[in-house]
């Protein structure tokens, strides 16, 4: 269960900044996967970063009653100068899995299928390879909730299938909170939806309603 209460966030530019998130509250129950939709700049990634504890809110709080992954996405999580293997080892160590490194590496390699590139610096990877590695790495750990920020957007068909299958296998044990513009993927993986607009969050028990409302708000 993740409780978000009265969350405020803004970014300070040289001329101040408007609230990106303005008094947002909701509770995500256990084992419910949620898709976050909204237009570019609505604060989707910001919300995900706050849920993941990567950033601090200006006001309000996020309470995590379960193990939450780091936000998996295009925007980082890997040190470019380190190889895939070194990055995996690093993440394993900070999560206290030092003695299970060989096992974890095998799992990640299995999922990512990037071959020899695993021993090349991550900065040489294509965005698809990065997201394969990122997804494989987070799935190697037993989190209750996985956070995905457009992590599947750049993957090929095989990878999307694999990611979807991985989450189907974990229904009942783990859930996902995902930011995505791929509606097929959202409908496949999520039950509930959150629509972000003008700093406010609207909760929908059905992801389809959230997507429909999103389309309406765009004036389609």
């Amino acid at each position: 269960m993740i409780e978000v209460s009265h969350l405020y966030k803004r970014y300070h530019g040289p001329f101040g900044g408007d609230w990106v998130l303005n008094d947002i509250s909701f509770t995500i129950p256990r084992n419910v996967s949620v898709g976050i939709v909204g237009r570019n700049g609505a604060g989707k990634s910001t919300l995900l970063r706050l849920i993941g504890g990567m950033d601090t809110p200006d006001r309000g709080s996020v309470t995590r009653h379960c193990r939450v992954s780091w936000p998996i996405g295009l925007g980082g999580g890997f040190q470019g100068s380190m190889t895939g293997r070194q990055n995996v080892k690093f993440v394993a160590r900070i999560h206290g899995g030092n003695d299970r490194i060989p096992d974890l590496i095998e799992k990640v390699q299995d999922f990512a299928e990037i071959g020899k590139a695993f021993d090349q610096p991550v900065k040489t990877y294509s965005s698809g390879m990065r997201s394969r590695l990122a997804f494989g790495l987070s799935l190697a750990f037993n989190f209750d909730v996985y956070l995905s920020d457009e992590a599947t957007a750049v993957g090929d068909v095989a990878f999307k299938k694999k990611a979807t299958q991985a989450f189907r296998d974990r229904v009942g044990q783990a859930s996902i909170i995902m930011v995505s513009h791929q509606e097929g993927m959202l409908k496949d993986l999520c039950q509930a939806g959150i629509l972000l607009q003008e700093g406010q969050a609207l909760w929908f028990d059905d992801i389809k309603d959230a997507i429909n409302q999103y389309h309406e708000s765009l004036g389609k």
Binding site: G52, G53, M54, D55, T56, R67, W70, P71, G75, G76, G77, F78, Q79, G80, S81, M82, Q86, K89, F90, V91, A92, R93, I94, H95, G96, G97, N98, R100, L104, A140, F141, N142, F143
Partner: protein
């Protein structure tokens, strides 16, 4: 499969430091093809070069209670211990920015770990230099090893504190980086590393004694050489104030600016 629930905050920190230490060490050793060699050779070459220059200029000045070359070696190595932590610690946060995606990793961790690594390297360099110069027939075996180690650790902690402060400064005020690298050279000359403080006129010496590095380096030297006459006015308490002050201020700044350090 890895469970991540049953760890207390101390264990998490220990795991993060372990992971960061290995990552930093790996980065230092594999930076380029001869990085592993340069790691120890650079400070050693630095010391040897200075010794060479000073011997060639001739006019080796008399140091009360110590031979000139060992005196210089001890001073330069102690200064390098401080300098490397400050200059390398300054960039610890920007070099590890991608890793803040994991909420276990705090900006202060990267500075502290880098400081630990740099200090370890400097200590190894010091031991190597002591061995080398002993084999060359110089009298550089410390007479009071405990005293040397104690003040060595104080310089180490002082470097850690300044690293914590400077890493916040260069992130919050990027302009300060130029200033910080600029003061390193004058600091070299004003810390009594190459020129004994005694050779400065009394009026100037009074102000030079405000520099805590003067105190620290003099104490390290007095642990090395029997009968070494330290500059008048050195004080353990004064040095201690600076060390504790730098560490506290550094940690405070790290807490205060944490979110800015992570996002910029």
């Amino acid at each position: 499969m890895t469970e991540a629930t049953s760890r207390n905050p101390w264990q998490v920190t220990a795991h993060v430091w372990h992971a960061l230490f290995l990552r930093e060490a790996m980065a230092r050793v594999t930076a380029d093809r001869i990085a592993w060699f340069w790691l120890l050779a650079e400070p050693i070459a630095h010391v040897l070069l200075l010794v060479g220059v000073r011997t060639m200029i001739g006019r080796v000045r008399i140091i009360p209670g110590a031979e000139f070359i060992p005196w210089l070696v001890v001073g330069v190595t102690s200064f390098i211990l401080f300098r490397n932590q400050m200059t390398k610690g300054m960039h610890a946060i920007s070099a590890n920015r991608a890793l803040f995606a994991y909420r276990q990793v705090h900006p202060a961790d990267t500075v502290l770990v880098r400081s630990g690594l740099e200090g370890t390297l400097s200590s190894i360099v010091m031991i190597i230099l002591v061995c080398v110069f002993t084999l060359l027939g110089q009298d550089i075996i410390p007479v009071d090893p405990m005293k040397v180690m104690g003040f060595w650790v104080l310089i180490w902690l002082f470097g850690m504190g300044t690293g914590l402060i400077s890493s916040v400064l260069v992130t919050v005020l990027p302009e300060s980086q130029k200033f910080l690298s600029m003061i390193m050279l004058p600091l070299y000359f004003l810390s009594g590393v190459m020129i004994p403080i005694q050779y400065f006129p009394h009026g100037i010496r009074e102000y030079l004694m405000y520099n805590p590095l003067v105190h620290a380096i003099e104490f390290v030297r007095s642990g090395f050489f029997e009968g070494y006459r330290m500059v008048d006015g050195v004080s353990v308490l004064y040095l201690g104030y600076w060390v504790v002050g730098a560490l506290l201020l550094g940690l405070l700044l790290q807490v205060r600016f944490k979110s800015r350090l992570m996002s910029e």
